[in-house]
Amino acid sequence: MSRPGFVLEVDDRTPPLVVHDGEGFRLEKFPLGTRVVYSPESQPGLRDVDAAIRHALEQPENSEPLRALLRPGMRLTIAFDDVSLPLPPMKRPDIRQRVVEQVLTMAAEAGVDDVEIIAALALHRRMKPSELQHALGERVYRSFAPDGLLYNHDAEDPDNLEFIGTTDQGEEVEINKRAAQSDLLVYVNINIVPMDGGHKSVPIGLASYRSLRHHHNSKTMVHSRSFMDHKKSAMHHSAWRMGRLLKDHLKIFTIETTLNNDVFPAPYDFLNKREWEWNVRDQATMLAAKRGLAVAPSKLRRKIFQGIQAPYGITGVHAGETEAVHEKTLAKVYSQQAVEVQGQSDVLIMGVPYLCPYNVDAVMNPILATCMGLGYFFNSYRNKPVVRPGGAVILYHPVPYEFSQLHHPSYVDFFEEVLAESTDPATIEQRFEKQYATDPWYIHLYRTSYAYHGVHPFYMWYWAAHAMDHVGDVVWVGADRRAVERMGFRSASTLADALEMVSGTVGRSPSITYTHNPPHLISDVR
């Protein structure tokens, strides 16, 4: 049995603690009394993953077995989560490969030969051939990709979208035409955080901008508390309405899988442990890694980090009707990630790592760093945020003033044009979003190159809207001053300076919480 999450109070015996800081990490001595939240220790992975998949397909939740849904002459479409998951990428074989291979085997046995496989990337960048190969394996890739039967969803291809209808709240539902016209749509998900999965898979992953704009907007996002709790998230409510509408038009068979917390492979596996439990070997590797990273040129550092593949264990596979499956999935994810935390504090400290869902193979630009810190980590709670309203957030990340022109062309312009005018999500939504969303150059790059959609930086900024609305102060430690100032934040060179800077808001002896992630944790704030 794994140990539950753990909350530590820093005293004079507490060693310096690891804080993730972009492409590197720090060892930080926190003020006495700081509350440190650790994620629960990794749960054991399933011993026989393939058997678990088989079991899930044969005895699904609230649905006939997959085999019974397959018949000769039918159209079968398999959609799967794109490159934004999991983080870091999974060591081969990826769980999507294992699931898809079994689905295909069953389809073949049932005599189904009209099969297409679609990466459900919504407005994310397209997956490269090597990434498709990594996610689905050589065999699937070689059998389908050359004939154009394995491809990326294109949210801007008017010929390949189908309008399904409008929800009772006026939300337009439009998804991938092939998926919409299939006799069966199988969706393969990896649930790394409770935000994903459920009706977020099909109605969002296979949607068009026309459909996405109904929930990906600043108003909905400010009213999502939190994204990690679909029952309290306005964004999820909208996706659920769309999902229920879709269900009447389309047979969907959902497969969701859950992972444990084994994020860091050797030699970085000491990062999975709690500092005071490091043995001599862990300490030695940590020092070597820290020194090595400190002197490595930034290109090499990026290569090292982007090359990390996680030795995740698979903790569960559930299949069947979407909502029933998602219930089971969420229970699994919470049991791995939830930590009980008593009450809110004045200051919340978070280390932002090198990777978020949108910078696989690219630098984490300032907007993504903000989205990761204030969007995802801040929102990793249930009930209420870890920091009190009007409190302060202190983040660690170098926030380089750097963008990938290949992946993030609209981010550069967003940063330089939009944020120069305003940082208020509602204002920029009203003044700029439509222009960016319909810009033919961004659409061209999204469809033919490897660029995120023009509107994507807006969504990233909206993710952070709730945090910006909730807290009084945001200070980045060790960040590029120009970059954080453009976003309306402040920067400090040390934690002591940062605490000094926020003392106007929270006083000189604030209560402090440090959430020690990654690996992922969800604070259950009581």
Partner: protein, 394 residues
């Protein structure tokens, strides 16, 4: 006798000035300056229609600085007569009656010395009212010189007195201050630029440069044309502020131009090898108000196919003309002003536009080194226009 600044012919000095071009204080204080402060005889012509004018304020124009610092094309050397007193942005007072204008009238000057002023039969351009295109600017009553301020006989604004022809004179309404009136000539040029731009209804315009030429062009475009978005390229904080006050929709830094214009016009952006990026698509009209190779090059690269590029201000050589060919651009010049209408509109603008504080430096002639230095660094120092104050120089 009168005090005047004089530019005189000295090829070695011209070349020396060119060599140190840019390092202004050096050239102005060193022995190489092709300009000197002298006491000389007042200019005189007895030809009909001419009268004496005592300048009150005389602006320093970018073209004056170009001539002084040897940055002007040798093309113009055939169009001037040496030595001359520079200064063509003049508000002054008539000393003599001049046809219908009585002595004592405050006037501004259209500096072009066209057929009428020269007393020759009107050329085709002058006959059609386009005096700025006059073909006779080297003949007739007065020495060669395209404008007052480049002619040996007429004197110029940077001296105690000059001669002007009735065809050049516009009376200044009583309510208009000298500080505003001295801006009428550059405003008239801007009005002409705006007309030459032929902006389509709601069309997008890029003004490259936010010195006096660019700022006034922005003002004229906003006031007199149906332009939609006007984007102005400005380097310095004060310029950015004024550009907005004069009607710019947005203000760009020079290195942001391709990206921001691409965004604003939803164009496609391409980056060739070893050359500047350019757009497919872009603004309807580009206005180069700097005259540098970089500025013109950028303007050509971000103007849409079939669009129009106006050279406002004296251009430099050496820009890559590929976009003109490939994008079928119409490249047009905008020199001085065309007839009386531009001046009438400029007088209106001078009265109504937010021009307070635009004349940011006034110097007596004997502090000419400081004045020229200030004018050369005007943008950086937050000044739009520097002028000589002749009342304190007499």
């Amino acid at each position: 006798m009168m005090l005047a600044l004089e530019m005189y012919r000295s090829l070695p000095r011209y070349i020396a000035a060119r060599a140190v071009g840019g390092r202004v204080p050096g050239i102005l204080t060193g022995p190489a300056a092709p300009v000197r402060l002298v006491n000389r005889a007042e200019p005189r012509t007895s030809a009909p229609g001419w009268a004496r004018v005592k300048p009150i304020l005389s602006g320093i124009c970018g073209s004056d600085l170009g001539a002084l610092f040897g940055q002007t094309s040798m093309y113009f050397s055939a169009l001037v007569s040496m030595p001359f007193v520079p200064g063509h942005e003049v508000v002054g007072e008539l000393v003599d009656d001049c046809e219908d204008l009585p002595a004592g009238t405050r006037v501004v000057l259209d500096p072009v010395l066209s057929c009428a002023a020269r007393g020759v039969e009107r050329c085709q351009s002058c006959a059609s009212g386009q005096t700025n295109r006059c073909d006779r600017i080297t003949v007739g009553h007065v020495s060669p010189g395209l404008q007052t301020g480049y002619c040996a006989d007429t004197g110029g604004g940077w001296g105690g007195q000059l001669m002007a022809h009735r065809s050049q004179l516009h009376a200044v309404p009583d309510g208009l201050s000298d500080e505003r009136a001295v801006l009428v000539e550059p405003l008239a040029c801007a009005v002409h630029t705006a007309m030459r731009a032929q902006v389509p209804d709601g069309g997008s315009v890029l003004v490259s440069g936010a010195g006096a030429v660019g700022l006034f062009a922005t003002l004229a475009l906003r006031e007199l044309t149906p332009a939609g978005r006007i984007s102005v390229v400005a380097k310095h904080p004060r310029q950015r502020e004024l550009a907005r006050a004069f009607g710019a929709t947005d203000v760009l830094a020079p290195d942001e131009v391709p990206a921001r214009v691409r965004r604003a016009t939803q164009a496609f952006r391409l980056t060739p090898e070893r050359s500047g990026e350019f757009l497919l698509g872009g603004v309807d009209v580009g206005i180069d108000a700097v005259g540098s190779k970089d500025s013109l090059g950028t303007t050509l690269r971000v103007t849409r196919a079939g669009g129009r590029v106006v050279l406002s201000g004296m251009p430099a050589a050496g820009a890559d003309l590929s976009p003109v060919w490939f994008r079928e651009l119409e490249v047009v010049g905008a020199y001085a002003t065309q007839g009386r209408e531009a001046f009438a509109r400029a007088l209106d603008l001078a009265a109504s536009a937010p021009l307070d504080g635009v004349v940011g430096g006034r110097y007596p002639l004997y502090r000419w080194r400081e004045a020229l230095d200030h004018a050369h660094s005007a943008g950086r120092l937050g000044t739009v226009k520097v002028a000589f104050d002749l009342r304190s120089s007499r």
